[in-house]
């Protein structure tokens, strides 16, 4: 086994997902098969190979430090599931 159900449940915790018992079972089997498949990458010797994060060379994209129009508070809050005045409202964090 490349991955156990307990590990799948731990990953779900990290990913902020709540899995049903059935989902945890299914994902364990499927992730195990996928991870076994991706193990084929170990056939390749990649010592000394530079990893590629982007296909085009990435440089910092600078712009002048000037104020430009933004979408504004009302637009930014337009899709908020819950709001209070000019804020996104969330359940209480601190007891």
């Amino acid at each position: 086994m490349k991955i156990t159900k307990a590990e799948v449940e731990h990953v779900a915790l990290l990913a902020r997902l709540e899995l049903t018992e059935q989902e945890a079972e299914t994902f364990t089997g499927q992730m195990d098969a996928i991870l076994a498949y991706v193990d084929k990458l170990n056939e390749l010797d990649t010592d000394g190979i530079v990893p590629t994060a982007h296909a085009v060379p990435m440089e910092n994209a600078f712009r002048a430090d000037e104020v430009t129009p933004s979408i504004g508070i009302e637009n930014a809050l337009g899709n908020a599931p819950k709001r209070a005045e000019s804020f996104f409202r969330v359940p209480k964090v601190i007891e």
């Binding site: 590990e7 990953v11 990290l14 990913a15 709540e18 994902f27 996928i34 296909a55």
Partner: protein, 485 residues
């Protein structure tokens, strides 16, 4: 010919000569959508009121002599593009009620030309899939055979073109999501070089791989759409600041002396006989036009799918962290406390495929596994890019199948994610290398399903593959066939 059957360039000519108005063309398209949509399900949202309002504005613009190639042309967009004031769901429950406050750059560029948006198209949820079966809004059906998948994730984009529900569409391609559905639906689909088209306002799946591109009826329309959306955008830090050529000028019937590479790793035993037969015939067509063929090798092809599913899922797990129920999207009403709200909102909002990819990506990036999976995949990506660089020292274009088989039946691969992932084996390497590729109609299977041909070009070599595609199109009639609906 009905108005909804026209290409961009044909409708443009009619609008220019005042033989037809944009309002008439838009009404014809909307009626067509109404007629076939119950069978195809290519759309998530149809926008008739906005479309007719935009068509009236386009007609005024045409009357005033201010006309561009897309002025008054009815276009539909994959539901991954943010469209100001028009619901954008990415085919997910989590964005079911999301109304964007701004347009994606590519949408703004089409609007600046005066396009008429007729609706937002179905796709796999968050562009994760190869069959458009993972949409929260139901499966899209292939117009050539309604029991088959249209491909994915831009399945709605390709199906809408094949079913004549839009004159042109835009899709996105992360591992083949434009080329594979274009192949399965008998359309032209182009994935530009990474950085050629802005990703600003396109809902992110895997940021180092995603790229915007057209799905159209013919190669001329493809060049028109690419020209409209390509170019530098300061709002996308991965956008490349290079001049945009006039792609329409690249469309020449002359491929004499063009060196076309055939990668031996793509023509393997087990390739569907209908696909093999189509490739053989296409090679003969090109030979007849004076192109030269060279056998080449892309030795790391067999590692591309594994590489892709580590890189793409890792990036997805990071990109999809923003769906937390705080600022937009679905929020669970069951939650007790903040962390519980994140977990319940995400678990209720995301479908199974999205959860599976987030899980895989989170695992690949997690402590203790990063080097073994994600870093390893990034190193193999370098090897895959080097394969293409070496090949393009020898040849101008690479010719391959788009998919190992024609469209498969709905449900056939849904229970086995690995089999589904392997259906993108011929398109994925192009995304990993960041170069450009397109799919053009090249034949039909014995069951009457379209089969596409893939042309891969050098980075920013879109003109070369468009020329090769145009020459093929001018000398065959596959693109003229229509699905009977």
């Amino acid at each position: 010919m009905e108005l909804f059957e026209l290409t961009i360039h044909e409708l443009h000519d009619k609008l220019k000569k005042k033989e037809v108005s944009s309002v008439e063309a838009t009404r014809a398209l909307l009626a067509r959508i109404d007629a076939v949509e119950p069978r195809v399900n290519a759309f998530i949202t149809v926008t008739p009121e906005e479309a007719l309002k935009n068509a009236e504005a386009a007609d005024r613009r045409i009357a005033a002599g201010d006309m561009q190639l897309l002025t008054g042309i009815p276009i539909a967009l994959k539901d991954i593009f943010l469209t100001k004031g028009v619901r954008t769901t990415c085919a997910s429950r989590i964005l079911d009620n999301f109304i964007p406050p701004y347009d994606a750059t590519s949408v703004a560029r089409l609007k600046a030309q005066g396009m008429v948006l007729v609706g937002k198209l179905n796709q796999d949820e968050f562009a994760m899939g190869s069959s458009t079966e993972s949409s929260y809004y139901g499966k899209t059906h292939n117009p050539w055979n309604l029991e088959c998948i249209p491909g994915g994730s831009s399945g709605g984009s390709a199906a809408a073109i094949a079913a004549r529900q839009a004159i042109a569409t835009l899709g996105t391609d992360t591992g083949g999501s434009i080329r594979q559905p274009a192949s399965h639906c008998g359309c032209v689909g182009l994935k530009p070089t990474y950085g050629r088209v802005s990703r600003y306002g396109v809902i992110a799946y895997a940021s180092s791989l995603d790229q915007v591109g057209p799905v159209t009826r013919d190669v001329t329309d493809c060049a028109i759409m690419l020209g409209a959306v390509a170019g530098f955008d300061p709002k996308d830090s991965t956008s490349v600041d290079l001049p945009v050529p006039d792609y329409s000028k690249a469309l020449s019937n002359d491929v004499k002396g063009l060196k076309i590479g055939l990668p031996k790793e793509y023509f393997i035993a087990g390739l569907d006989p209908d696909v093999q037969k189509t490739m053989d015939a296409a090679i003969e067509t090109y030979k007849g036009l004076g192109a030269q063929f060279v056998e080449i090798s892309l030795p790391h092809t067999d590692y591309a799918v594994a590489t892709y599913y580590l890189i793409a899922t890792a990036e997805a797990s990071s990109n999809l962290a923003r769906y937390d129920g705080v600022r937009f999207g679905h929020r669970s009403s069951e939650a007790q406390g903040l962390i519980d709200m994140y977990r319940k909102s995400r678990s209720e909002g995301f479908g199974e495929e999205v959860k599976r990819r987030i899980m895989l990506g989170t695992y690949a990036l997690s402590s203790g596994y990063y080097d073994a999976y994600y870093l390893k995949a990034q190193k193999v990506r370098t090897l895959i890019m080097q394969d293409f660089s070496r090949a393009f020292e020898e040849v101008d274009v690479i010719l391959t199948p788009v998919a190992p088989t024609p469209a498969f039946r709905i449900g056939e691969k849904s229970a086995d994610p690995l089999q589904m992932y392997l259906s993108d084996i011929f398109t994925i390497p192009v995304n990993l290398a960041g170069t450009c590729g397109m799919s053009i109609p090249a034949g039909f299977s014995k069951d009457g399903l379209p089969v596409g041909l893939q042309l891969v070009g050098r980075p920013f070599g879109e003109e070369c593959i468009l020329r090769a595609a145009y020459a093929f199109e001018q000398n065959t009639d596959w693109h003229e066939r229509k699905a009977s609906l």
